[in-house]
Symmetry: C2
Subunit: 125 residues, 2 copies
């Protein structure tokens, strides 16, 4: 299970940032009505508000470069905790912004993994 | 529940780093036989090995300075996800080390909150 969690978790991270950087509206497919996002301290509840918030970020284009991905199986059967560190490249920023983000993926009734918890922070140096 | 999770989560963080910086052996009281720690990519399972690893870190004295604490209730009833950013001050290091850490606190059969999942990373600039 730990190895499976790691494979699934790393595939999720790749998929998530690929969507974020190239097809941001499609991120809504990964959240549920009771999903939670804390973005730089701001708490947002539910797929609709999370999706709106991610659309409204003050940059249209960006690129996430992942440095580390750590995963652990969670106490909920089939669920996975993921911890990411990396940098965010914006077209108008000379310096890259370091970030850390955690995801808690939980299986839905249909058996798909969805983001139940998402916490994002920029790491100010 | 969200507000309660936030109060409990922040109290835990203060307690955890107070023990880490002043009474490191007592951290073992916060973990369980099935707790997981991923420390800079190294996976450690169970309170005994986690406690040994934390004792063997290559510094005797340190001070954690917390910058941000974000909390969310988790899918397991009564459990809390915590995401911390901060810096680690070591006596022999001129520069502080930035870190991020996440905890998943889950209630035991006795009703105490214990660390089920713990992932720690230094943020290299």
């Amino acid at each position: 299970m730990e190895e499976e969690a790691d494979i699934v978790g790393k595939a999720f991270v790749e998929h998530y940032y690929q969507l974020f950087d190239n097809e941001r509206p499609s991120l809504s497919t990964l959240y549920q009505p009771d999903s939670m996002l804390t973005f730089e301290g701001q708490q947002i509840l539910g797929v609709d508000d999370i999706s709106s918030r991610l659309q409204q970020l003050p940059f249209e284009r960006c690129r996430h470069v992942v440095s580390t991905v750590d995963t652990q199986p969670s106490a909920v059967p089939g669920s996975i905790l993921i911890f990411v560190s990396g940098s965010l490249e914006l077209p108008d920023e000379e310096h890259h912004l370091r970030f850390s983000q955690m995801f808690h993926l939980v299986p839905t009734a249909q058996g798909n993994l969805c983001v139940q918890n998402d916490i994002f922070r920029l790491n100010y140096g």
